[in-house]
Point group: C2
């Protein structure tokens, strides 16, 4: 969670006075990259959003890709925390799945600063970056896999495709979702209900 990786010298949390501008940068970058993409967002855009000069970003992050990595770690941590809170106290497998879907969708479509770091190919083509992104993503994926494994499904149902279908439908929602029509919770409930009725 608060572990900072292995390469860069990260100031971490020091004296309490100056509030973490580093987190401000991450949040601003998440919002911008979330809506304009990685390549579509320049360092100057991010710097302007937090009221800094472009070069000053390099005090906090060694490169644009490392900024993205920190951002991605931050976002995935939020998804994990949301999942923890959603599952607390629930024991019925279907209830747990629906709660997880609800948490996922709420985080994904949530109000502003959505940090929709959904696209795995968001960062540039650097394979080292892609590997670290995939690793963090897989850890979250495994938890969904466990939730699906606990479901009492009919014998013929492929649990792998079940999970991929559900996650695909969820992760595509930012493309068509518009506020005011349906709430994330309604969508989550409907998606789970459709799958449940057929696969149980």
């Amino acid at each position: 969670m608060t572990k900072a990786g292995q390469g860069a010298a990260v100031p971490a949390e020091r004296g309490g006075r100056a509030p973490n501008r580093r987190e401000d940068v991450i949040r601003a970058a998440a919002e911008l990259i979330g809506e304009r993409g990685f390549d579509g967002t320049s360092m100057r855009d991010i710097a302007r959003a937090v009221g800094m000069l472009p070069g000053s970003l390099y005090y906090h992050f060694a490169s644009k890709e490392e900024l993205f990595l920190a951002l991605h770690e931050h976002a995935v941590a939020r998804y994990h925390a949301a999942l923890d809170a959603a599952l607390e106290g629930l024991r019925d497998p279907w209830d747990r799945l629906e709660a997880a879907v609800r948490a996922h969708l709420r985080e994904l479509l949530g109000s502003r600063n959505l940090l929709a770091i959904v696209r795995p190919d968001a960062a540039g083509g650097d394979p080292a970056v892609a590997a670290r992104v995939r690793a963090e993503r897989d850890a979250y994926d495994q938890r969904i896999r466990d939730l699906v494994a606990a479901l009492p499904l009919a014998p013929g149902v492929d649990r792998g495709l079940f999970r991929l279908m559900l996650l695909g439908a969820l992760n595509w929602t930012p493309v068509w979702f518009r506020e005011g029509r349906r709430t994330p919770d309604e969508i989550a409930a409907a998606f789970v209900a459709m799958l449940r009725a057929g696969a149980e």
Copy 2:
């Protein structure tokens, strides 16, 4: 289909000798943009892929965005054609849906030069481009909507969310699909089967 828009002066199909390099450019651009994104693909990359100099592209296309528009039109036309062929002769609503899903997935994951122009936000932020892209996409979307409308679903099922769930699951497949494991046809059949069992 072969209509070229309203702005640029397009050579169209003239003398038979020189085969259309213009289509070569579109195909190469589709492949590159499909795997590296719009911003991640430069005009020089595209020019190199077809053996031309960067400036020569501007004989065929007025700008990078117009090249993308031509590319998008080309890709959507392929989806329409695949859908036409798939639906031919089928009358049962569920058979028609499964055939459509199969065609869509085969086009989306198909061998090489996949022209996976799935992301609506692929082009740069220009709203005029986004509008034209959305228009072409909506026409295709409407055909799926019609297919869903013909299904004999249970009264409580929201056909809108039914379609969005299916299309979301489909359009997300390029993220996790790897050749050699499951064929597009298997995935298509499984997705439709899951939805059918629950919603019928």
